[in-house]
């Protein structure tokens, strides 16, 4: 009895699935909705609900999975999406290491991937694998440029660096160091710590001993608060700068009063009401924030914006690609990649995007602002 009812249900589901499989673009989504990276993954997973359901007369179906923050699962799920679901494009994954693991598989399947990750390593330096990958957060050099600008404006001459010992931190150092040297800043100390660490006392003491005018922390959210708090505890009095990875509520939650005054270059999303209305990005960002608040009852952490912007990029590129091939075909996927690479002056929630064969992130300074933490909230700094 029970068995036969189950079979009917299955048959019915299969029938419905086959019906809806026509004229449809299939997008795979992998986020880290559970596990250590969940603070990034949850807003990203939530944002999937806000993605466009229809572009022209093509409907878009999203197949969303959770990789539990584990790269091995990311790879397994990606293989499932590529081999079984035959997706046209992928949004995800949440973690930088996870996305690095996917490069070869996306290139082999000739399927574009829009990675809402922090690290630039997924698209820089460009190569045959990364050709298929687009990054939906501003590149490290755009943020880095903003940080150096702010440092110069404050008369800083020496900088100490502390970052994750993974692609996020390493890539940040690789980008930041030469740009800083060029701008006349001297890096006097460079330390690494692990995402799993619960204390960075050793590294902090070395930083303090080097007496830099400022310290730059390249970590993500709560993980970026750890060196900051310990620097303050160690009596460090200089300015402490942060990358866009710190532009998250968790950073303030964990850091508390000790991260007051932290200087962060991040998206204007967090300080929308302080932004003048004539900034193009404000309108899109406001749409996203309003929709997110309506559905989930809270402000979106910035990580979700990467998924939202990925949706905007796809919405823009899909009609282009549809002219060259039917969804579900290699021609469509290849054309979709080309169309994404051709994105020109697209206004998104984090800035204005201009892609090229060399730049697969495409954000410019129009989306970034200098923030500080004041009374437990992010607020805009006008230099």
């Amino acid at each position: 009895m029970k068995g036969s009812r189950l079979w009917w249900a299955l048959a019915g589901a299969a029938f419905v699935a086959s019906m809806s499989a026509q004229a449809q673009v299939k997008i795979g989504v992998i986020t880290s909705a559970t596990g250590p990276t969940a603070f990034v993954g949850i807003p990203q997973k939530n944002s999937v609900a806000l993605l466009p359901q229809k572009v022209g007369d093509l409907s878009i179906e999203y197949v969303s999975y959770d990789d539990a923050s584990d790269s091995t699962q990311t790879v397994q799920l990606t293989k499932k999406l590529l081999g079984e679901e035959r997706i046209d494009a992928m949004i995800g994954p949440s973690g930088s290491p996870n996305s690095m693991a996917l490069l070869q598989f996306m290139a082999e399947a000739r399927t574009p991937m829009l990675a809402p990750v922090g690290t630039g390593a997924v698209v820089v330096p460009m190569d045959a694998n990364k050709r298929w990958v687009f990054k939906t957060h501003p590149n490290d050099d755009v943020i880095s440029d903003g940080l150096i600008e702010a440092m110069k404006a404050r008369g800083i001459q020496t900088v100490g660096f502390i970052g994750y010992n993974d692609p996020y931190g390493e890539n940040w150092y690789r980008i930041f160091a030469p740009m800083a040297e060029k701008a006349g800043l001297k890096i006097v100390a460079s330390e690494r710590y692990s995402r799993q660490d619960t204390s960075v006392t050793g590294q902090v003491l070395k930083l303090v001993a080097a007496k830099p005018d400022a310290v730059l922390v390249a970590g993500v959210a709560a993980g970026a608060a750890l060196p900051h708090v310990q620097l303050v505890d160690a009596g460090y009095k200089g300015a402490i700068f942060h990358t866009h990875g710190s532009a998250s509520g968790a950073f303030i939650q964990i850091g508390g009063r000790k991260v007051e005054g932290a200087l962060i270059v991040g998206p204007l999303l967090l300080v929308l009401n302080e932004i003048p209305d004539d900034v193009a990005t404000k309108k899109v960002a406001l749409e996203y924030v309003t929709a997110y608040e309506k559905q989930f009852g809270q402000q979106p952490p910035i990580f979700g914006a990467g998924v939202y912007d990925a949706g905007l990029l796809l919405q823009h590129a899909i009609p282009e690609a549809a002219k060259k091939g039917k969804p579900g075909t290699p021609e469509f996927r290849s054309a979709l990649r080309d169309a994404l690479e051709g994105t020109h002056e697209l206004v998104t929630s984090q800035g204005v995007v201009n892609m090229s064969a060399q730049d697969h992130s495409g954000y410019d300074k129009r989306g970034r602002v200098l923030l500080t933490v004041k009374d437990g909230k992010f607020s805009l700094v006008r230099d």
Binding site: T34, D66, S71, T72, Q76, E84, P97, M100, Q104, D166
Partner: protein, 613 residues
């Protein structure tokens, strides 16, 4: 124990038509699977195969040898990372340039490295007993995981990407379907090797580990060696699985090699049935499919995501272990083996093994001089002297607690005497290990029967002949030692017939009455072809006719020139049989002489017979 007799019989020729049929059907289904199933299901089957290979090692290690390991995932990691590193490192270090970064060299290196690491870890941890052993495996399981995560050359927690797929004889082994054939061929091969091994002299030695080291060592088995053999085989299976995993997944990071997976592998083996090779496959299949199914079903049912499957899975597992503590395989096996019990089996016959030349009658075999055993303040044996000569039966009698069994243990090397000297065939043996003494030609039985209840009588007795075979693990796994094995089993069969249990040869030892189990112990001791036999209360639990038969047997052994040292309570049995009698009380020898002399010795009457005139 509910283990079906089918599992452990060595002579299963033509006895399992249904089992064979089922196996053939299973293999046919496996071969057809990639042709009909969607890719995702093939991938799932691949993972089941990979997990089953690790679980198979655990069946050998934990289920059969009784050594619990939570650390197998670390060996999977060694196999995976070695090849992953070799095939992705650039530039290749000059000392490895000859390898050309080939995955096949990666396999060889991975297995070699696993062998070395497992050898070291095994030497350190396998001597631990009780719960210390599992804790030890947890410790090195965790440390290897962190080693993978913190070595920069291995990509740290980020892992290694760009691992190539495989190629063999011009065929690319690339997608899930290709790997399906590789993985399952390897797994079925490993199952074949494991089954061969378990059904051999070396395998019996490994199976004997569960019965405790004392009996095994007394039969001449080097238990430390057998443990490490089982441990190395399990580690190699794990590493092999890791190698295939790395080249199938083409990405490795430390997560799948952590303690969590180590526990999961053990889970699979236990759920499937840890003492059955097919239990590994069943367990891996059930766990993998169930988890996948729950992962898909629960979020739909509950309307929200989260790792609910872990909770439901845990509850299900507790239920399974409660209802089927032996795992699921015995339940499945019953379907295939229902009529197997009635099938007639052939008694193994082969040319007899060479025998040792017995010393001439009357030669002194055993000289005991001033043997003292102290446990703290307790004096269990005090200055005991005795001799046993070839061709005589010496009985050792005394009330309970007189120290007879302690003396037996001192003589056979189970424990070392505190003072005194024991010579066997002129050689000092009081500091020797039991298995060296066994090699010299002394064999014994135990007061508290030490048989392996799930093994057949034949196999139990064949354990006694352990030292009369020489072929090693490799030959056994390939069944290249069948000629020798036949002779060992034939010898065991002869000894079983000699003690009058020919009818029950193929039954499990645990199903026999206690008296018969004592006879099995005697047959096992005889199978080692001893010149001195130490029997600890052989007649206890025997019926009158059986006692008579035993007395006749001992009489014949004596006539053949064997020396027998006998501890016994049954006075009639002793007095009718023994040539001489030694009487002990409170750890001291109080009398020695011919049976009639001793019976009339006032000290004996006073002490032993409780002062009856």
């Amino acid at each position: 124990m509910s283990t079906p007799a089918a599992q452990s019989h060595p002579v299963r020729v033509r006895t399992l038509p249904r089992g064979t049929l089922a196996l053939a059907a299973f293999v046919a289904l496996l071969a057809a699977a990639p042709l009909v199933l969607p890719e995702f299901h093939v991938t799932l089957l691949d993972y089941i195969g990979l997990y089953a290979l690790v679980a198979l090692g655990l069946v050998l290690l934990t289920g059969v040898a009784g050594l619990t390991s939570f650390g197998q995932a670390a060996f999977v990691g060694i196999g995976a990372y070695t090849s992953a590193w070799l095939t992705t490192v650039s530039p290749l270090p000059s000392w490895l340039a000859w390898t050309g970064g080939s995955p096949w060299v990666g396999l060889a290196l991975g297995l070699a490295l696993t062998l070395v690491v497992a050898w070291m870890l095994g030497a350190l941890t396998l001597r631990l007993s009780g719960h210390y052993l599992p804790l030890g495996t947890i410790a090195w399981g965790i440390s290897l995981y962190f080693l993978f995560g913190n070595l920069d050359v291995l990509g740290g927690h980020t892992g290694l990407t760009g691992i190539p797929s495989l190629e063999a004889f011009g065929f690319a082994i690339r997608d899930a379907r290709d790997f399906h054939y590789l993985i399952w061929a390897v797994l079925l091969g490993a199952i074949w090797l494991t089954r061969n091994l378990l059904d051999s002299r070396e395998g019996r030695a490994i199976r004997a580990l569960k019965g405790g080291a004392i009996m095994a060592e007394s039969m001449g088995i080097d238990t430390a060696r057998s443990k490490i053999v089982a441990f190395l085989i399990a580690a190699l299976f794990a590493a092999l699985s890791g190698w295939m995993y790395a080249h199938m997944q083409r990405f490795v990071n430390p997560t799948p090699f952590g303690l969590g997976f180590g526990i999961e592998y053990l889970f699979m083996a236990v759920i499937g049935g840890a003492s059955h090779v097919w239990g590994a496959v069943l367990g891996a299949g059930v766990v993998t499919i169930l988890k996948q199914w729950l992962q898909d079903l629960l979020p739909a049912l509950l309307g929200q995501t989260g790792n609910f499957e872990v909770i439901v899975f845990g509850v299900l597992m507790v239920l399974v272990l409660q209802r089927a503590p032996e795992g699921l395989w015995p339940i499945v096996a019953r379907v295939f083996a229902s009529r197997e019990r009635s099938a007639a089996r052939e008694v193994p016959r082969a040319e007899p093994l060479p025998r040792r030349t017995l010393p001439a009658r009357g030669t002194t075999l055993l000289e005991v001089r001033g043997v003292t055993k102290r446990y703290g303040g307790l004096l269990a044996n005090h200055r005991i002297d005795l001799d046993v000569r070839a061709g005589e039966v010496l009985a050792l009698i005394g009330p309970n607690g007189a120290g007879k069994s302690t003396l037996f243990d001192c003589l056979s090397g189970v424990i070392a005497p505190t003072e005194g000297e024991v010579r066997f065939l002129g050689q000092r043996i009081d500091a020797m290990r039991a298995r060296r003494i066994a090699r010299l030609g002394m064999s014994r039985t135990f007061q508290h029967v030490r048989l392996l209840p799930t093994m057949s009588v034949l196999e139990n007795v064949a354990l006694g002949a352990h030292l009369r075979g020489a072929r090693g693990v490799v030959a056994a796994s390939l069944h290249a030692e069948r000629a020798e094995e036949r002779r060992l089993l034939a010898e065991a069969a002869r000894q079983i017939e000699r003690v009058g249990l020919g009818e029950r040869m193929f039954e499990t030892a645990g199903s026999l009455a206690l008296g018969q189990q004592r006879l099995v112990e005697i047959a096992r001791a005889l199978a080692s072809d001893p010149c001195l036999l130490l029997l600890d209360e052989p007649a206890a639990g025997l019926r009158y006719l059986e006692k008579q038969a035993l007395a006749e047997l001992l009489d014949r052994l004596r006539a053949d020139g064997m020396g027998v040292l006998l501890v016994e309570h049954d006075m009639e049995f002793v007095m009718g049989l023994a040539d001489r009698v030694v009487v002990m009380e409170f750890g001291e020898k109080i009398a020695e002489g011919l049976p009639e002399q001793v019976q009339n010795d006032p000290a004996v009457l006073e002490a032993y017979l409780g002062g009856i005139d």
